[in-house]
Symmetry: C2
Subunit: 239 residues, 2 copies
């Protein structure tokens, strides 16, 4: 047992431990700014699969950087059906859609054991004023999020399911590579249902497409573990 349970998630340099600096805010902050950031960043208790980080309608307080694990975000159509809008991996930032109207517009739920850093937004804005480089960083992070979404739009615009599937896999692969993954293995934390929902196809079709790609020698499926064998061909399919 920890003798100071209250500070269990604040003992270490929060900024260092959660990797915000390395993963989310690419510029180098100087010593003082770094220490200011440290005061700002809070760690949260780890979440288990199915735990919610925020829900539609929740008041917006913080951005969240994923330290490890993964999450999905989804909205509800008026018909009440779930519509997955994104998957979020280690090192990525969630919650930026809520800055404008001070309220979250989607649900964010953990897909596995996941830990996030909380970045209280008012404090972040204040610090932005004192540290110009931080301001630039935040702009960049948001810009990147915009591009990510537009990339997705580009993806969904394509007609064939094979292409969407290829792009989905490559996108995951590239994001993992950026985070320092060394092998060609994707450990999907989401169900086929989620993938299908995200890509706008039936989950049976996801299953069939993966099987088809396995037949062609492009990848190897072991449940949720996908080993990419022929990334070049995958890229060719993605177009």
């Amino acid at each position: 047992m920890n003798t100071k349970p209250k500070s269990q998630y604040n003992e270490r340099s929060a900024c260092e431990s959660c990797g915000v600096r390395q993963l989310c805010l690419p510029v180098s902050l100087d010593g003082e700014a770094l220490s200011l950031m440290d005061d700002l960043v809070k760690r949260r208790a780890p979440m288990k699969k199915g735990d919610y980080l925020f829900r539609t309608g929740d008041k917006f307080k913080s951005l969240y950087a994923i330290q490890y694990g993964s999450m999905k975000s989804y909205g509800l159509t008026v018909g009440g059906k779930e519509q997955v809008t994104g998957f979020h991996l280690t090192g990525e930032v969630l919650g930026m859609d809520a800055i404008d109207e001070d309220e979250h517009h989607c649900n964010a739920v953990a897909l596995e054991k996941t830990e996030v850093c909380e970045l209280p937004f008012t404090a972040l804005e204040t610090l932005q004023n004192e540290v110009p480089s931080l301001q630039r960083d935040l702009n960049k992070i948001m810009s990147r999020e915009i591009r990510r979404d537009q990339h997705m739009l580009l993806m969904l615009g394509s007609t064939t399911v094979e292409q969407r599937m290829a792009r989905f896999l490559l996108n995951l692969y590239e994001r993992l590579q950026k985070r320092g993954a060394s092998d060609n293995t994707l450990n999907l934390s989401m169900t086929r249902q989620d993938i299908g929902n995200y890509l706008g196809v039936a989950f049976e079709t996801v299953s069939r497409q993966l099987a088809h790609m396995q037949d062609k020698g492009i990848l190897e499926i072991k449940n949720r573990n996908i080993h990419l064998l022929d990334i070049e061909t995958l890229g060719a399919i993605a177009g």
Copy 2:
């Protein structure tokens, strides 16, 4: 002829004339900040249909606020096919996808006679430091863009074309209403081809869907002029 041709697009208060304050930056700036903004904002010569504002690979210098007219943005798939990623109306801001990597990632082309305000970004960032409210505004504008894209993702996720079409029309309608439109008429500046590309369907299908909606009494088509007769039903279809 203008006696001062060089300053043709800078004579009036740029900020007032291009409507940046009202349309893009919702908070009220005080007198001094407003004047600083004025110095910042440049007007550009009007563009005619087909003129490009920027292209993929262009160095990022400025954000652009549309004063009047409309634009489309699109990327190219590796296969070389055009993929429309968005339509942009009066009062909306373009270029935010480029902040991160200092380079534009899509092409922006005028769909009709269009005029934009240029907001040089380095100056904007500097001014951000002096005017905290501006910083918040920029955060909000970017947040809104993120939400817009995620909304689109939600739209494309839906399976039926009828639904996508309905959502597309309603989305345009709402954006025009926000800008003060009083009637229920959409003057589409884009081709059926562009719409189909954007929604991920064949342009013939767009044509047929519109015809079908006209048969059901939901709207009335006169070439590119769409008069919405039954917005409630349209909303019901959109789900």
